[in-house]
């Protein structure tokens, strides 16, 4: 590799590094500087994801399953078609089992019970597990939040807690819903 190529690549890298903080500006140009996960990007997904500018498909809790009977649930065609794609869904954050966990559960309605802490409680069927790159702090439990990220489908058990999930989102943005 000659000197020139090296210099050009250095410039490109420098430009990329300058570009990253630009992402931290809101659409109105104000800097979002909250310390919590709120209104921050790139918790789980890399910072360059918005480069692809993939439009997040809106998803609602009542669209998760097309079939439900006493014999089980069926993923809806819409949910199946969004597998691996970027989606956006609003719901309520259930209190996590412990503050250090790198996931939380998003529910359709606020949870009266903490199924992780209460032995007699159980989770409702329509829940979405939200995966994070680091532990969450200071999220409201009584106001709706909107999560954007990549959709994962299928049975998965968390090794640490034994928590079983069917629908997951690898979050890259979480903000208060309006």
């Amino acid at each position: 590799m000659d000197k020139l190529t090296r210099r050009i690549s250095r410039v490109i890298i420098a430009m990329m590094l300058i570009w990253v903080p630009l992402n931290w500006l809101g659409q109105d140009g104000t800097i979002r500087n909250e310390s919590s996960l709120f209104c921050t990007r790139a918790q789980a997904a890399p910072a360059w994801l918005p480069w692809f500018n993939e439009e997040a498909a809106p998803l609602e809790f009542n669209e998760l399953y097309s079939g439900a009977s006493a014999l089980g649930l069926e993923f809806s065609p819409k949910l199946e078609s969004l597998k691996g794609k970027k989606v956006r869904i609003s719901g309520f954050m259930a209190p996590p089992l412990k503050p250090t966990l790198n996931f939380f559960v998003l529910t359709k309605v606020p949870m009266a019970i903490c199924p992780f802490c209460s032995t007699d409680a159980d989770w409702p069927d329509d829940i979405v597990l939200i995966k994070l790159s680091k532990a969450v702090a200071a999220l409201p439990f009584d106001r709706p939040i909107t999560v954007t990220g990549q959709l994962e489908l299928g049975y998965q058990m968390d090794e640490e807690t034994g928590f079983v999930s069917l629908v997951r989102i690898v979050a890259d943005n979480i903000e208060e819903a309006n």
């Binding site: 439900a68 993923f75 209190p95 009584d142 106001r143």
Partner: protein, 604 residues
């Protein structure tokens, strides 16, 4: 003379003083007033299970267990039953382990004779001995005309006030006289039932249903066992329950019906033995155990019956309990249509929701799709009760059926008295179906009881017609007048759960929550958990509401059970047993007495 007079006066004064003193002394010592003294409860070092004053059906099987705590290791535990060594009395070897926490246990024993039994336990250590004695009762009480069948209705959390709300909404009241009474109120016998378990003043549904099913007290979250000291939820000393007894001794048919998960506390306690009611996957598979496998199982909660690979399952293994029931010859129904088509097979498993079945208002009145989702074809409690009776009554040896109105409790926990009341009425209609059946042959005992109460009380009425809102719109005394519920179609359920003048129902205990006194479109939790603390749910009062500051620990986001006694009504052969104030374990003894059960008999 004067002196004599003086001395007489003095004497009479002395007498009066003496008499007064005697009265005071006798009052203090309790010789003239008869009332038993009692001391504050303390945990004995020697824990004998079954507990002191336990009552047994003759021949009823149980595990006899003793736990002893000593400062230094125990060297011996000696147990005498009616003066005989326990091993000789029961004809079985005890398993004894000696340490600072010693145990003595003889499993699966029974009392072969009626009468009183005394148990004396002596524990020896190098420092000396400690003793404890308990007494048991094995009644000989026999009913003149036994019942062939027993139908036990449990209105979960159905307090006296819950019954009254149902009476007001279902029947209405004119000039202070009720237009009619509920089916469950038009029964020959009435008793008040105390609800405490052996561990605590306030019970939960497992503990209290266990008392009805076994005749023995238990602890919060436990069923069919006395709670021992170990962590293992499956090793606690067991007592034989009603389903096991009627199957073993009589070959009767048995059934459980509930609007909750069928593995929930009340139906589960009719058959299962565990310290932990949350072991619902275990309870589901226990329903297959021939010892206590019910012939009819109808309710919600299929999620505990489906293999874990099926979306919606809550099992942690690949067992398909529904398939296993099919292999045992059970007909399967998963909605109302299939339940109707099932007819009257010999054995029937019907599961109509993954979770608890929806409540009557959502299922049958508003039919709100946002609540029901795909579960639009669920049977009513009346449908399930009727089917269960039709199937079980084919057995000439008789049947035992337990029917639970489960969401009366679940909706009172969320302080949704309207939803609770519609479900109380639904159960009352199921009671009506049972009474109709009982009328034909007159050989069925029907019992309607709650397992515990909720602190919900009717203060008056509530309306905003004059512009007042909140507490000012709660109408008290003469201002209360009458609520404007109406039942134009005569189905027993009020047409509108939210009339312009509704009841003012107030709760004795509650978390922080918003109250707007109106019917909620969808079931909504009063409070939600945030960082381990219950906070008022903003969704609870979308049209505004008063914030009520909680009066129970912030660790609980719902209204909690109250320790109030609950009413029991009964009719049919053996119903005469139920009168006055009774311990909750007496419900079992009333049932086995009515059936004339003998635990020593074995059906072939």
């Amino acid at each position: 003379m004067y002196n004599l007079k003086m001395s007489t006066l003095c004497l009479s004064q002395c007498f009066r003083l003496l008499a007064a003193l005697l009265v005071v002394m006798s009052l203090m010592s309790g010789t003239t007033v008869s009332h038993a003294a009692y001391s504050a409860p303390e945990v004995p070092h020697i824990n004998i299970m079954p507990i002191d004053r336990a009552k047994f059906l003759v021949g009823q099987k149980f595990d006899f267990a003793i736990e002893v705590k000593t400062d230094i290791p125990a060297t011996a535990i000696e147990v005498l039953v009616n003066g005989k060594a326990a091993e000789t009395f029961f004809g079985k070897q005890a398993i004894i382990s000696l340490d600072k926490m010693s145990t003595y246990r003889i499993n699966q024993v029974a009392f072969p004779q009626t009468g009183k039994v005394s148990v004396a336990v002596t524990v020896k250590t190098e420092n000396g001995i400690e003793k404890r004695a308990v007494n048991y009762d094995i009644p000989a009480d026999k009913v003149k005309k036994p019942a062939k069948n027993v139908i036990l209705f449990v209105g979960d959390g159905m307090s006296l006030q819950a019954r009254q709300m149902a009476r007001i909404l279902s029947k209405g009241i004119t000039e202070g006289k009720y237009n009619d009474l509920l089916e469950m109120e038009k029964m020959s016998n009435l008793a008040l039932i105390t609800t405490s378990g052996n561990d605590s003043l306030v019970t939960d549904s497992a503990n209290s249903a266990s008392a009805y099913a076994t005749g023995h007290k238990s602890a919060v979250n436990a069923m069919g066992v006395y709670a021992d000291n170990t962590k293992d939820p499956f090793d606690d000393p067991k007592v034989e329950n009603i389903i096991e007894l009627v199957k073993r001794t009589r070959g009767m048919s048995t059934g459980i019906v509930s609007t909750a998960n069928i593995t929930d506390a009340t139906p589960a306690a009719m058959l299962a033995h565990t310290r932990k009611r949350s072991e619902q996957n275990f309870i589901a598979q226990e329903m297959l155990n021939p010892q206590h496998r019910p012939d009819v199982i109808l309710g919600g909660g299929s999620r505990h019956f489906l293999p874990k690979s099926v979306p919606g399952s809550k099992r942690s293994d690949e067992r398909n309990i529904i398939e296993e029931f099919k292999e045992q010859g059970y007909s399967i129904a998963t909605n109302k249509t299939q339940l109707k088509q099932a007819g009257t097979p010999d054995k029937l498993l019907g599961l109509f929701q993954l979770d608890n079945m929806d409540v009557y208002v959502d299922r049958e009145v508003t039919k709100n799709p946002a609540v029901l989702g795909k579960f639009t074809d669920q049977p009513t409690l009346m449908d399930m009760t009727k089917t269960a009776i039709n199937v079980l009554s084919k057995n000439q040896k008789g049947f035992f059926l337990m029917v639970e109105g489960a969401s009366i409790d679940k909706q009172l926990h969320t302080m949704d008295w309207q939803r609770a009341t519609y479900d109380t009425i639904e159960m009352d209609k199921a009671v009506g179906i049972a009474k109709e059946f009982a009328k034909k042959n007159g050989d069925t005992l029907i019992i309607v009881v709650a397992d515990h109460a909720h602190g919900a009380s009717i203060t008056g009425t509530y309306h905003e017609k004059d512009g007042k809102t909140g507490r000012e719109a709660v109408r008290i005394y003469a201002d209360a007048g009458w609520p404007t519920f109406a039942d134009a179609d005569g189905d027993g359920f009020p047409d509108d759960p939210n009339p312009d003048v509704t009841l003012a129902v107030q709760f004795a205990n509650h978390p922080d929550y918003y109250e707007n006194e109106k019917f909620q479109d969808v079931p909504t939790s009063p409070a939600i958990m945030a960082d381990g603390k219950a906070i008022a749910n903003l969704k609870r009062a979308p049209q505004g509401g008063d914030l009520k500051v909680g009066n129970i620990p912030a660790s609980d986001p719902s209204e909690v059970h109250s320790a109030d006694d609950v009413p029991l009504t009964a009719e049919g052969p053996g119903a005469d047993y139920f009168k006055g104030i009774m311990d909750n374990t007496e419900v079992f003894h009333g049932i086995v007495r009515a059936l004339g059960l003998d635990g020593r008999k074995e059906s072939k």
